[in-house]
């Protein structure tokens, strides 16, 4: 016997999306419920079990930190892009990953990509190393250490994995 809601968080997010897209009325709520139950069942073969969330406070703090960094770092990148281009020193950087769960790795890679200055380009075949492209690289060691300390640690604290 399969569970009625194999992915409760996904179902909740789907229902919330549907209600936001349309309006709050009994018919739309019913439709949202149907979608929230049906879609996880249909897409189940593609989904990976979410690791449990250990601390919601850490998750919220991480979200705030990332939002703040996006704005700050975008201003820094704007200065780089508008300044003299010849002086930029781009580089590829290998980052050894401490997180192992697929969702945690995906989250870390996405955060690194969305925070300006670095982009995740590839993984090693065993998914233990992440390859980054950095727009302007000054100190590789320090850069990697900062990324890991700033984003990877909260992810590890926040998820049970």
């Amino acid at each position: 016997m399969k569970k009625a809601l194999p992915f409760p968080l996904l179902s909740l997010a789907l229902a919330a999306c549907w209600v936001t897209l349309t309006e709050i009325s009994p018919s739309h709520l019913a439709l949202a419920f149907v979608l929230a139950v049906a879609i996880p069942h249909i897409t189940e073969p593609f989904l990976v079990e979410l690791p449990g969330i250990r601390s919601i406070g850490t998750a919220l703090r991480l979200a705030g930190l990332v939002a703040w960094d996006i704005v700050l770092a975008n201003i820094a990148v704007a200065r780089l892009v508008l300044g003299p281009v010849a002086r930029l020193r781009p580089g590829f950087v290998h980052v050894p990953l401490a997180v192992t769960h697929p969702h945690a790795i995906a989250l870390f890679a996405s955060i690194v990509s969305i925070v300006p200055g670095s982009l995740s380009i590839a993984f090693s075949p065993d998914a233990r190393t992440l390859l980054l492209h950095v727009l302007h690289l000054e100190d590789e060691q320090q850069f990697v250490a900062k990324l890991k300390e700033r984003y990877e640690r909260p992810i590890m604290d926040m998820l049970k994995c």
Partner: protein, 110 residues
Amino acid sequence: MQDVIVSLLLLVGSFFILVGAIGLVRLPDFFMRLHGPTKSTTLGVGGMLLAAVVHAAGRDFSLRESLITLFLFVTAPVSAYLLGQAGLRRRIMSRAPLPDEVSGPGCRQP
């Protein structure tokens, strides 16, 4: 007051959209160009969508616009990753020396 906030957000959004496009035109190699659109432009559109939410707040409050922002912020790293993989596979010209061996889970052969 509402108009002032909307205007400010629009100006911020315009600035970052322009920065993204300038980066796309100006930067010398593909991997550097990848940075401009994925971040600056996404943030710029985010600012404009925020402006739309604030502007619509007077008529009927809805967070629909913020869904597009969320969608863009989730998809931007994915498309950047896939484009980067394509660039690596094609051994494209790059100012930074290309690493030798890479293969990612996003590129597994069927």
